[in-house]
Subunit: 117 residues, 2 copies
DNA sequence: TGGCAATATTCAGTTGATCTATATACCGAT
DNA sequence: ATCGGTATATAGATCAACTGAATATTGCCA
């Protein structure tokens, strides 16, 4: 029940605005993450199967483009809902961590200020 | 090399402000996550070993409290740095997903508006 | 002609989380 | 006095997801 992993999250994000095919997702994720995360093909295609089985994504259409098949996936309504929830949780987690890190700094500041009196 | 998982992130967050012992981390993580995530003991103690081995946390001290040992851990400087970086990435990911989800809504809005003309 | 980008598939290996069980000590309530 | 719950740590078996590498095909460009 606990949070999805980064690649999964990025795959859903890549599909959020419009349908894409596998390779398109790979390149989009690279962009999305500012080049930090690149999706290995093994990760992608097994994740696509899994997410489709869970109903978070659906096959949109299949095309033959210059002799190669392209299978487009789209985010389902359930997928969009899951992504929204997960996004909120990321935000909450980031906020919690920031607050704690800040109070850590405050701790330091206090002892410095204390020493200065 | 890719992002840490949620339990790991929450453990580091729990240690960010002040040292805590294992059980204290479990209860703090429950709070931190608004009760959504609860750390199983197996998850915690293996994560503590791993994080200590990676140098992200350190043993702070050991106490005997009413006959039971308590081992306190603290976040190392490296751990704080890792947590800051990871926090920034969570924020970035959340922002990217929000933007995509919004443009999805825009897409819908556009076609509705289009149909209305 | 040779190599690379685009594209999809599969599989073996690794990692980290989960669940379950075990153990001990104290405390409050029967 | 005893039973159950809370506090606390540890270990092992298992599972889910990610990783990396190998395989295959087509078209384009040097």
């Amino acid at each position: 029940m606990s949070g999805m992993r980064e690649p999964t999250f990025l795959i859903l994000t890549a599909l959020a605005a419009e349908p894409r095919h596998g390779y398109g997702i790979i390149t989009d994720v690279t962009d999305l993450s500012g080049g930090r995360t690149r999706l290995a093909p093994g990760t992608l295609y097994s994740a696509l199967d899994r997410l489709a089985a869970e109903g978070l994504i659906e096959v949109d259409r299949e095309e033959i483009f210059s002799g190669r098949m392209r299978r487009y996936y789209r985010l389902s309504e359930a997928g969009a809902a899951a992504l929204r929830i997960e996004t909120e949780q990321l935000r909450a987690r980031a906020a919690a961590a920031s607050a704690r890190l800040a109070s850590r700094r405050t701790g330091l500041t206090r002892s410095v200020l204390g020493a200065m009196q």
